[in-house]
Symmetry: C2
Subunit: 253 residues, 2 copies
Amino acid sequence: MKRWKLTIEYKGTDYCGWQRQDAQPSIQQAVEEAVYKFCQQNVTLHVAGRTDAGVHARGQVAHADLPDRDISGYELAKALNAHLKPQPISIIKAETTSEEFHARFHAVNKLYHYRIINRSPFLTFDANLAYHFKRELDVKAMQDAATVLVGHHDFTTFRDTGCQAKSPVKTLDRLDITVRDYDGQGGREILFALEAKSFLHHQVRNMVGTLVLVGEGKWTKKDVEAALAAKDRTKGGPTAAAEGLYLIRVDYA
Amino acid sequence: MKRWKLTIEYKGTDYCGWQRQDAQPSIQQAVEEAVYKFCQQNVTLHVAGRTDAGVHARGQVAHADLPDRDISGYELAKALNAHLKPQPISIIKAETTSEEFHARFHAVNKLYHYRIINRSPFLTFDANLAYHFKRELDVKAMQDAATVLVGHHDFTTFRDTGCQAKSPVKTLDRLDITVRDYDGQGGREILFALEAKSFLHHQVRNMVGTLVLVGEGKWTKKDVEAALAAKDRTKGGPTAAAEGLYLIRVDYA
Protein backbone atom coordinates (compact mmCIF):
# COMPACT_ATOMS: atom_id res chain seq x y z
CA MET A 1 0.00 0.00 0.00
CA LYS A 2 1.02 3.58 -0.58
CA ARG A 3 -0.24 6.59 1.39
CA TRP A 4 -1.57 9.43 -0.75
CA LYS A 5 -2.33 13.00 0.17
CA LEU A 6 -5.24 14.43 -1.82
CA THR A 7 -6.07 18.13 -2.06
CA ILE A 8 -9.73 18.56 -2.88
CA GLU A 9 -11.93 21.41 -4.11
CA TYR A 10 -15.71 21.19 -3.73
CA LYS A 11 -18.92 23.12 -3.80
CA GLY A 12 -20.77 21.93 -0.70
CA THR A 13 -24.26 23.13 -1.62
CA ASP A 14 -25.87 19.81 -2.45
CA TYR A 15 -24.03 17.69 0.12
CA CYS A 16 -24.68 16.88 3.77
CA GLY A 17 -21.06 17.82 4.47
CA TRP A 18 -17.79 15.95 4.31
CA GLN A 19 -18.74 13.02 6.49
CA ARG A 20 -20.71 10.00 5.31
CA GLN A 21 -24.30 9.86 6.47
CA ASP A 22 -26.99 7.34 5.68
CA ALA A 23 -29.14 8.20 2.71
CA GLN A 24 -27.56 11.61 2.14
CA PRO A 25 -24.87 12.46 -0.39
CA SER A 26 -21.58 13.40 1.27
CA ILE A 27 -18.26 14.53 -0.13
CA GLN A 28 -16.52 11.62 1.58
CA GLN A 29 -18.81 9.08 -0.06
CA ALA A 30 -18.36 10.68 -3.50
CA VAL A 31 -14.55 10.59 -3.27
CA GLU A 32 -14.45 7.09 -1.74
CA GLU A 33 -16.69 5.82 -4.54
CA ALA A 34 -14.33 7.35 -7.10
CA VAL A 35 -11.43 5.59 -5.36
CA TYR A 36 -13.38 2.32 -5.47
CA LYS A 37 -14.00 2.71 -9.19
CA PHE A 38 -10.29 3.34 -9.65
CA CYS A 39 -8.92 0.37 -7.67
CA GLN A 40 -11.92 -1.85 -6.81
CA GLN A 41 -11.17 -1.60 -3.11
CA ASN A 42 -13.07 0.04 -0.28
CA VAL A 43 -10.70 2.68 1.06
CA THR A 44 -11.44 5.07 3.92
CA LEU A 45 -10.44 8.70 3.54
CA HIS A 46 -9.11 10.62 6.56
CA VAL A 47 -9.82 14.31 6.28
CA ALA A 48 -8.06 17.38 7.72
CA GLY A 49 -11.26 19.13 8.74
CA ARG A 50 -14.83 17.92 8.38
CA THR A 51 -17.03 20.52 6.75
CA ASP A 52 -20.76 20.89 7.44
CA ALA A 53 -23.60 20.78 4.96
CA GLY A 54 -23.37 23.63 2.46
CA VAL A 55 -19.79 24.56 3.38
CA HIS A 56 -17.28 24.74 0.51
CA ALA A 57 -13.60 23.89 0.15
CA ARG A 58 -10.87 25.23 -2.10
CA GLY A 59 -8.16 23.16 -0.49
CA GLN A 60 -9.47 20.38 1.73
CA VAL A 61 -6.87 17.69 2.44
CA ALA A 62 -7.43 13.97 2.99
CA HIS A 63 -5.16 10.96 3.07
CA ALA A 64 -5.83 7.40 2.00
CA ASP A 65 -3.87 4.18 1.54
CA LEU A 66 -4.16 2.85 -1.99
CA PRO A 67 -2.82 -0.37 -3.49
CA ASP A 68 0.65 -0.02 -4.99
CA ARG A 69 0.55 0.98 -8.62
CA ASP A 70 3.01 2.67 -10.86
CA ILE A 71 1.07 5.88 -11.26
CA SER A 72 1.98 9.56 -10.89
CA GLY A 73 0.02 12.06 -8.80
CA TYR A 74 -1.08 13.74 -12.01
CA GLU A 75 -2.45 10.45 -13.34
CA LEU A 76 -4.19 9.51 -10.08
CA ALA A 77 -5.93 12.91 -9.86
CA LYS A 78 -6.98 12.58 -13.49
CA ALA A 79 -8.34 9.06 -12.96
CA LEU A 80 -10.30 10.00 -9.83
CA ASN A 81 -11.65 13.15 -11.47
CA ALA A 82 -12.93 11.12 -14.42
CA HIS A 83 -15.09 9.23 -11.89
CA LEU A 84 -16.09 12.33 -9.91
CA LYS A 85 -17.21 14.38 -12.90
CA PRO A 86 -19.74 16.05 -13.23
CA GLN A 87 -20.11 16.39 -9.47
CA PRO A 88 -18.65 19.71 -8.20
CA ILE A 89 -15.78 17.85 -6.51
CA SER A 90 -12.30 17.93 -8.04
CA ILE A 91 -8.98 16.45 -6.90
CA ILE A 92 -6.66 19.39 -7.54
CA LYS A 93 -3.53 17.60 -6.33
CA ALA A 94 -2.52 14.03 -5.50
CA GLU A 95 0.90 13.23 -4.07
CA THR A 96 2.49 10.29 -2.30
CA THR A 97 3.46 10.89 1.28
CA SER A 98 5.09 9.02 4.16
CA GLU A 99 3.25 6.15 5.84
CA GLU A 100 3.03 8.24 9.01
CA PHE A 101 1.35 11.26 7.43
CA HIS A 102 -2.07 12.05 8.90
CA ALA A 103 -4.22 14.72 7.24
CA ARG A 104 -5.91 15.70 10.50
CA PHE A 105 -3.32 15.20 13.22
CA HIS A 106 -0.38 16.66 11.33
CA ALA A 107 -2.07 19.87 10.19
CA VAL A 108 -0.26 22.87 11.66
CA ASN A 109 -2.48 25.62 10.26
CA LYS A 110 -5.84 26.04 8.57
CA LEU A 111 -7.11 29.00 6.59
CA TYR A 112 -10.85 29.60 6.30
CA HIS A 113 -12.60 32.32 4.34
CA TYR A 114 -16.08 33.60 5.06
CA ARG A 115 -17.71 35.65 2.29
CA ILE A 116 -20.56 38.13 2.77
CA ILE A 117 -22.07 39.85 -0.26
CA ASN A 118 -23.53 43.05 1.14
CA ARG A 119 -26.09 44.48 -1.26
CA SER A 120 -29.82 44.62 -1.80
CA PRO A 121 -30.30 42.73 -5.14
CA PHE A 122 -30.28 38.96 -4.83
CA LEU A 123 -27.27 36.94 -5.95
CA THR A 124 -26.79 35.32 -9.36
CA PHE A 125 -23.19 34.14 -9.71
CA ASP A 126 -22.79 33.72 -5.96
CA ALA A 127 -26.12 32.15 -5.04
CA ASN A 128 -25.26 29.51 -2.39
CA LEU A 129 -21.62 30.61 -2.61
CA ALA A 130 -21.74 33.52 -0.16
CA TYR A 131 -23.91 34.84 2.66
CA HIS A 132 -26.22 37.44 1.15
CA PHE A 133 -26.67 40.25 3.66
CA LYS A 134 -28.94 43.07 2.49
CA ARG A 135 -28.73 45.73 5.19
CA GLU A 136 -25.76 48.04 5.66
CA LEU A 137 -22.79 46.80 7.69
CA ASP A 138 -20.20 48.93 9.49
CA VAL A 139 -17.03 47.12 8.41
CA LYS A 140 -14.74 49.36 10.51
CA ALA A 141 -16.65 48.45 13.68
CA MET A 142 -16.46 44.76 12.74
CA GLN A 143 -12.71 45.00 12.11
CA ASP A 144 -12.20 46.67 15.47
CA ALA A 145 -14.33 44.11 17.34
CA ALA A 146 -12.56 41.23 15.57
CA THR A 147 -9.33 42.06 17.40
CA VAL A 148 -11.00 40.87 20.62
CA LEU A 149 -11.13 37.32 19.30
CA VAL A 150 -7.55 36.99 18.08
CA GLY A 151 -5.19 35.15 20.43
CA HIS A 152 -5.30 32.36 23.01
CA HIS A 153 -8.81 32.10 24.50
CA ASP A 154 -11.46 29.79 25.87
CA PHE A 155 -13.86 29.88 22.90
CA THR A 156 -16.80 28.13 24.62
CA THR A 157 -19.08 31.03 23.62
CA PHE A 158 -18.41 30.32 19.95
CA ARG A 159 -18.43 26.54 20.15
CA ASP A 160 -21.35 24.43 19.04
CA THR A 161 -22.92 22.65 22.01
CA GLY A 162 -22.38 19.34 20.18
CA CYS A 163 -18.66 20.00 19.61
CA GLN A 164 -16.53 16.98 20.55
CA ALA A 165 -13.16 18.70 20.97
CA LYS A 166 -11.46 17.93 24.29
CA SER A 167 -10.77 21.56 25.14
CA PRO A 168 -12.49 24.84 24.22
CA VAL A 169 -9.14 26.63 24.47
CA LYS A 170 -7.66 27.50 21.08
CA THR A 171 -5.32 30.07 19.58
CA LEU A 172 -6.81 32.18 16.80
CA ASP A 173 -3.81 33.50 14.89
CA ARG A 174 -5.62 35.72 12.43
CA LEU A 175 -9.03 37.26 11.85
CA ASP A 176 -8.79 39.84 9.07
CA ILE A 177 -11.77 41.50 7.47
CA THR A 178 -11.34 43.16 4.09
CA VAL A 179 -13.89 44.81 1.85
CA ARG A 180 -13.99 45.41 -1.88
CA ASP A 181 -16.33 46.53 -4.60
CA TYR A 182 -18.53 43.67 -5.77
CA ASP A 183 -20.73 44.87 -8.61
CA GLY A 184 -19.79 48.45 -9.45
CA GLN A 185 -23.18 49.58 -8.09
CA GLY A 186 -22.43 49.94 -4.41
CA GLY A 187 -22.56 46.23 -3.59
CA ARG A 188 -19.61 45.07 -1.50
CA GLU A 189 -17.88 41.79 -0.78
CA ILE A 190 -16.79 41.50 2.85
CA LEU A 191 -14.19 38.78 3.25
CA PHE A 192 -13.18 37.27 6.60
CA ALA A 193 -9.85 35.39 6.65
CA LEU A 194 -9.24 33.24 9.74
CA GLU A 195 -6.20 31.13 10.60
CA ALA A 196 -5.52 28.76 13.46
CA LYS A 197 -4.00 25.35 14.05
CA SER A 198 -7.53 24.07 14.64
CA PHE A 199 -11.05 25.36 15.16
CA LEU A 200 -13.98 24.22 17.30
CA HIS A 201 -17.20 23.06 15.64
CA HIS A 202 -19.06 26.09 14.21
CA GLN A 203 -16.40 28.42 15.65
CA VAL A 204 -15.89 30.43 12.47
CA ARG A 205 -19.60 30.76 11.71
CA ASN A 206 -20.44 31.67 15.33
CA MET A 207 -17.72 34.34 15.43
CA VAL A 208 -18.83 35.76 12.07
CA GLY A 209 -22.49 35.79 13.22
CA THR A 210 -21.42 37.72 16.30
CA LEU A 211 -19.36 40.23 14.31
CA VAL A 212 -22.33 40.79 11.98
CA LEU A 213 -24.27 41.97 15.06
CA VAL A 214 -21.51 44.53 15.53
CA GLY A 215 -21.70 45.51 11.84
CA GLU A 216 -25.43 46.07 12.22
CA GLY A 217 -24.85 48.33 15.23
CA LYS A 218 -26.71 45.97 17.56
CA TRP A 219 -23.56 45.04 19.47
CA THR A 220 -20.39 46.92 20.44
CA LYS A 221 -16.82 45.71 20.77
CA LYS A 222 -17.43 45.59 24.54
CA ASP A 223 -20.35 43.21 24.00
CA VAL A 224 -18.03 40.88 22.09
CA GLU A 225 -15.52 41.05 24.98
CA ALA A 226 -18.26 40.23 27.47
CA ALA A 227 -19.55 37.37 25.31
CA LEU A 228 -16.07 35.82 25.02
CA ALA A 229 -15.51 36.19 28.77
CA ALA A 230 -18.86 34.56 29.55
CA LYS A 231 -17.71 31.18 28.17
CA ASP A 232 -21.35 30.43 27.42
CA ARG A 233 -22.72 29.64 23.96
CA THR A 234 -26.04 31.33 24.79
CA LYS A 235 -24.18 34.63 25.22
CA GLY A 236 -22.74 34.55 21.66
CA GLY A 237 -24.30 35.71 18.40
CA PRO A 238 -26.07 33.48 15.90
CA THR A 239 -24.37 30.97 13.60
CA ALA A 240 -23.74 32.60 10.23
CA ALA A 241 -25.04 30.72 7.16
CA ALA A 242 -23.00 27.72 5.97
CA GLU A 243 -22.93 28.92 2.35
CA GLY A 244 -20.43 31.71 3.13
CA LEU A 245 -17.76 29.39 4.55
CA TYR A 246 -14.75 28.02 2.64
CA LEU A 247 -11.90 25.83 3.83
CA ILE A 248 -9.15 27.41 1.74
CA ARG A 249 -5.92 25.72 2.78
CA VAL A 250 -4.42 23.25 5.23
CA ASP A 251 -0.72 23.56 6.03
CA TYR A 252 1.66 20.84 7.19
CA ALA A 253 5.09 21.17 8.76
CA MET B 1 -44.29 57.17 -19.47
CA LYS B 2 -40.88 57.38 -17.86
CA ARG B 3 -37.65 56.07 -19.35
CA TRP B 4 -35.66 53.80 -17.06
CA LYS B 5 -32.07 52.61 -17.32
CA LEU B 6 -31.57 49.13 -15.90
CA THR B 7 -28.20 47.60 -15.04
CA ILE B 8 -28.44 43.83 -15.16
CA GLU B 9 -26.31 40.94 -13.94
CA TYR B 10 -26.87 37.45 -15.32
CA LYS B 11 -25.43 34.00 -15.66
CA GLY B 12 -25.99 33.15 -19.33
CA THR B 13 -25.49 29.38 -19.11
CA ASP B 14 -29.09 28.25 -19.50
CA TYR B 15 -30.21 30.98 -21.90
CA CYS B 16 -30.10 31.31 -25.68
CA GLY B 17 -28.60 34.77 -25.18
CA TRP B 18 -30.02 38.21 -24.58
CA GLN B 19 -32.37 38.32 -27.54
CA ARG B 20 -35.82 36.72 -27.63
CA GLN B 21 -36.06 33.55 -29.70
CA ASP B 22 -39.02 31.27 -30.23
CA ALA B 23 -39.24 28.38 -27.81
CA GLN B 24 -35.92 29.14 -26.10
CA PRO B 25 -35.45 30.99 -22.82
CA SER B 26 -33.72 34.36 -23.30
CA ILE B 27 -32.60 37.02 -20.86
CA GLN B 28 -34.73 39.60 -22.68
CA GLN B 29 -37.86 37.50 -22.29
CA ALA B 30 -37.21 36.88 -18.60
CA VAL B 31 -36.77 40.57 -17.83
CA GLU B 32 -39.69 41.66 -20.03
CA GLU B 33 -41.91 39.13 -18.26
CA ALA B 34 -40.83 40.52 -14.91
CA VAL B 35 -41.71 44.02 -16.17
CA TYR B 36 -45.11 42.71 -17.32
CA LYS B 37 -45.80 41.23 -13.90
CA PHE B 38 -44.85 44.55 -12.35
CA CYS B 39 -47.00 46.85 -14.53
CA GLN B 40 -49.29 44.57 -16.60
CA GLN B 41 -47.98 46.08 -19.84
CA ASN B 42 -45.91 44.61 -22.62
CA VAL B 43 -42.74 46.68 -22.66
CA THR B 44 -39.78 46.18 -25.02
CA LEU B 45 -36.28 46.39 -23.58
CA HIS B 46 -33.49 47.97 -25.64
CA VAL B 47 -30.12 46.58 -24.73
CA ALA B 48 -26.59 48.02 -24.92
CA GLY B 49 -25.02 44.86 -26.32
CA ARG B 50 -26.71 41.60 -27.20
CA THR B 51 -24.91 38.65 -25.66
CA ASP B 52 -24.83 35.17 -27.20
CA ALA B 53 -25.94 31.89 -25.64
CA GLY B 54 -23.84 31.05 -22.59
CA VAL B 55 -22.26 34.52 -22.31
CA HIS B 56 -22.55 36.25 -18.93
CA ALA B 57 -23.02 39.84 -17.81
CA ARG B 58 -21.99 41.69 -14.68
CA GLY B 59 -23.24 45.04 -15.94
CA GLN B 60 -25.46 44.78 -19.00
CA VAL B 61 -27.54 47.92 -19.58
CA ALA B 62 -31.02 48.19 -21.09
CA HIS B 63 -33.61 50.93 -21.25
CA ALA B 64 -37.39 50.71 -21.22
CA ASP B 65 -40.35 53.06 -21.00
CA LEU B 66 -42.57 52.24 -18.06
CA PRO B 67 -45.91 53.75 -17.01
CA ASP B 68 -45.55 56.68 -14.62
CA ARG B 69 -45.55 55.59 -11.02
CA ASP B 70 -44.24 57.15 -7.89
CA ILE B 71 -41.49 54.60 -7.30
CA SER B 72 -37.78 54.89 -6.58
CA GLY B 73 -35.07 53.02 -8.49
CA TYR B 74 -34.43 50.94 -5.39
CA GLU B 75 -38.09 49.94 -5.24
CA LEU B 76 -38.32 49.17 -8.97
CA ALA B 77 -35.24 46.94 -8.86
CA LYS B 78 -36.64 45.18 -5.81
CA ALA B 79 -40.03 44.64 -7.46
CA LEU B 80 -38.54 43.28 -10.71
CA ASN B 81 -36.11 41.06 -8.80
CA ALA B 82 -38.99 39.54 -6.83
CA HIS B 83 -40.39 38.37 -10.19
CA LEU B 84 -37.01 37.30 -11.62
CA LYS B 85 -35.98 35.18 -8.66
CA PRO B 86 -34.77 32.40 -8.61
CA GLN B 87 -33.50 32.81 -12.16
CA PRO B 88 -29.82 33.90 -12.24
CA ILE B 89 -30.80 37.36 -13.48
CA SER B 90 -30.73 40.32 -11.11
CA ILE B 91 -31.43 44.04 -11.65
CA ILE B 92 -28.52 45.58 -9.79
CA LYS B 93 -29.54 49.18 -10.49
CA ALA B 94 -32.61 50.98 -11.82
CA GLU B 95 -32.59 54.72 -12.44
CA THR B 96 -34.76 57.16 -14.34
CA THR B 97 -33.13 58.79 -17.33
CA SER B 98 -33.96 61.33 -20.01
CA GLU B 99 -36.47 60.47 -22.72
CA GLU B 100 -33.66 60.60 -25.28
CA PHE B 101 -31.39 58.09 -23.56
CA HIS B 102 -30.65 55.00 -25.65
CA ALA B 103 -28.80 52.08 -24.07
CA ARG B 104 -27.19 51.02 -27.34
CA PHE B 105 -26.66 54.20 -29.34
CA HIS B 106 -25.40 56.33 -26.46
CA ALA B 107 -22.84 53.87 -25.10
CA VAL B 108 -19.36 55.39 -25.35
CA ASN B 109 -17.36 52.45 -24.00
CA LYS B 110 -17.80 48.77 -23.20
CA LEU B 111 -15.65 46.57 -21.01
CA TYR B 112 -15.60 42.81 -21.58
CA HIS B 113 -13.72 40.20 -19.60
CA TYR B 114 -12.73 36.80 -20.89
CA ARG B 115 -11.69 34.23 -18.26
CA ILE B 116 -9.54 31.19 -18.89
CA ILE B 117 -8.86 28.73 -16.06
CA ASN B 118 -5.62 27.07 -17.04
CA ARG B 119 -5.19 23.81 -15.14
CA SER B 120 -5.65 20.09 -15.58
CA PRO B 121 -8.39 19.24 -13.00
CA PHE B 122 -11.93 20.02 -14.14
CA LEU B 123 -13.77 23.02 -12.73
CA THR B 124 -16.16 22.99 -9.78
CA PHE B 125 -16.95 26.59 -8.77
CA ASP B 126 -16.32 27.89 -12.28
CA ALA B 127 -17.97 25.18 -14.38
CA ASN B 128 -19.71 27.09 -17.22
CA LEU B 129 -18.27 30.33 -15.82
CA ALA B 130 -14.85 30.22 -17.49
CA TYR B 131 -13.11 28.54 -20.41
CA HIS B 132 -11.31 25.50 -19.03
CA PHE B 133 -8.00 25.13 -20.87
CA LYS B 134 -5.89 22.18 -19.72
CA ARG B 135 -2.61 22.50 -21.61
CA GLU B 136 0.07 25.04 -20.75
CA LEU B 137 -0.22 28.56 -22.15
CA ASP B 138 2.61 31.06 -22.67
CA VAL B 139 0.99 34.18 -21.25
CA LYS B 140 3.94 36.43 -22.12
CA ALA B 141 3.67 35.48 -25.79
CA MET B 142 -0.08 36.13 -25.69
CA GLN B 143 0.44 39.53 -24.07
CA ASP B 144 2.98 40.47 -26.70
CA ALA B 145 0.78 39.32 -29.61
CA ALA B 146 -2.25 41.13 -28.12
CA THR B 147 -0.58 44.48 -28.81
CA VAL B 148 -1.06 43.83 -32.53
CA LEU B 149 -4.83 44.05 -32.12
CA VAL B 150 -5.04 47.27 -30.12
CA GLY B 151 -5.89 50.39 -32.11
CA HIS B 152 -7.90 51.36 -35.19
CA HIS B 153 -8.18 48.40 -37.57
CA ASP B 154 -10.35 46.57 -40.05
CA PHE B 155 -11.33 43.59 -37.88
CA THR B 156 -12.91 41.49 -40.66
CA THR B 157 -10.67 38.55 -39.67
CA PHE B 158 -12.24 38.50 -36.19
CA ARG B 159 -15.80 39.21 -37.25
CA ASP B 160 -18.49 36.55 -37.43
CA THR B 161 -19.58 36.06 -41.02
CA GLY B 162 -23.15 36.75 -39.93
CA CYS B 163 -22.24 40.07 -38.28
CA GLN B 164 -24.62 42.87 -39.25
CA ALA B 165 -22.44 45.88 -38.39
CA LYS B 166 -22.11 48.40 -41.24
CA SER B 167 -18.34 48.58 -41.04
CA PRO B 168 -15.63 46.13 -39.89
CA VAL B 169 -13.45 49.06 -38.86
CA LYS B 170 -13.33 49.57 -35.09
CA THR B 171 -10.99 50.99 -32.49
CA LEU B 172 -9.89 48.57 -29.81
CA ASP B 173 -8.77 50.77 -26.92
CA ARG B 174 -7.50 48.08 -24.59
CA LEU B 175 -6.57 44.41 -24.59
CA ASP B 176 -4.84 43.54 -21.34
CA ILE B 177 -4.02 40.03 -20.25
CA THR B 178 -3.28 39.39 -16.59
CA VAL B 179 -2.58 36.15 -14.79
CA ARG B 180 -3.00 35.10 -11.18
CA ASP B 181 -2.92 32.04 -8.99
CA TYR B 182 -6.23 30.20 -9.10
CA ASP B 183 -6.10 27.23 -6.75
CA GLY B 184 -2.79 27.29 -4.91
CA GLN B 185 -1.75 24.14 -6.83
CA GLY B 186 -0.35 25.65 -10.00
CA GLY B 187 -3.71 26.36 -11.63
CA ARG B 188 -3.91 29.88 -13.08
CA GLU B 189 -6.66 32.28 -14.04
CA ILE B 190 -5.84 34.19 -17.22
CA LEU B 191 -8.02 37.27 -17.53
CA PHE B 192 -8.46 39.25 -20.75
CA ALA B 193 -9.84 42.79 -20.35
CA LEU B 194 -11.02 44.46 -23.56
CA GLU B 195 -12.44 47.95 -24.05
CA ALA B 196 -13.87 49.67 -27.11
CA LYS B 197 -16.80 51.89 -28.01
CA SER B 198 -18.28 48.89 -29.78
CA PHE B 199 -17.35 45.40 -30.91
CA LEU B 200 -18.23 43.26 -33.92
CA HIS B 201 -20.17 40.02 -33.48
CA HIS B 202 -17.87 37.37 -31.93
CA GLN B 203 -14.93 39.81 -32.08
CA VAL B 204 -13.80 39.22 -28.51
CA ARG B 205 -14.13 35.44 -28.69
CA ASN B 206 -12.40 35.29 -32.10
CA MET B 207 -9.49 37.43 -30.89
CA VAL B 208 -9.16 35.34 -27.72
CA GLY B 209 -9.27 32.10 -29.73
CA THR B 210 -6.48 33.45 -31.91
CA LEU B 211 -4.35 34.52 -28.94
CA VAL B 212 -4.78 31.06 -27.41
CA LEU B 213 -3.09 29.67 -30.54
CA VAL B 214 -0.16 31.96 -29.69
CA GLY B 215 -0.24 30.78 -26.04
CA GLU B 216 -0.03 27.18 -27.26
CA GLY B 217 2.97 27.99 -29.42
CA LYS B 218 1.10 27.16 -32.63
CA TRP B 219 1.09 30.77 -33.80
CA THR B 220 3.52 33.68 -33.46
CA LYS B 221 2.90 37.39 -33.12
CA LYS B 222 3.71 37.67 -36.83
CA ASP B 223 0.93 35.18 -37.62
CA VAL B 224 -1.53 37.42 -35.75
CA GLU B 225 -0.31 40.43 -37.73
CA ALA B 226 -0.76 38.52 -40.99
CA ALA B 227 -4.23 37.32 -39.95
CA LEU B 228 -5.36 40.87 -39.12
CA ALA B 229 -3.95 42.18 -42.41
CA ALA B 230 -5.71 39.44 -44.40
CA LYS B 231 -9.18 40.85 -43.54
CA ASP B 232 -10.54 37.34 -43.95
CA ARG B 233 -12.36 35.38 -41.25
CA THR B 234 -10.93 32.09 -42.52
CA LYS B 235 -7.42 33.37 -41.68
CA GLY B 236 -8.26 33.98 -38.00
CA GLY B 237 -8.19 31.54 -35.08
CA PRO B 238 -11.20 29.68 -33.70
CA THR B 239 -14.00 31.26 -31.68
CA ALA B 240 -13.26 30.81 -27.97
CA ALA B 241 -16.01 29.22 -25.85
CA ALA B 242 -18.96 31.45 -24.87
CA GLU B 243 -18.76 30.50 -21.19
CA GLY B 244 -15.58 32.55 -20.64
CA LEU B 245 -17.09 35.85 -21.80
CA TYR B 246 -18.54 38.55 -19.51
CA LEU B 247 -19.99 41.95 -20.39
CA ILE B 248 -18.69 43.82 -17.36
CA ARG B 249 -19.64 47.46 -17.84
CA VAL B 250 -21.18 49.89 -20.32
CA ASP B 251 -20.23 53.55 -20.01
CA TYR B 252 -22.24 56.59 -21.10
CA ALA B 253 -21.08 60.16 -21.58
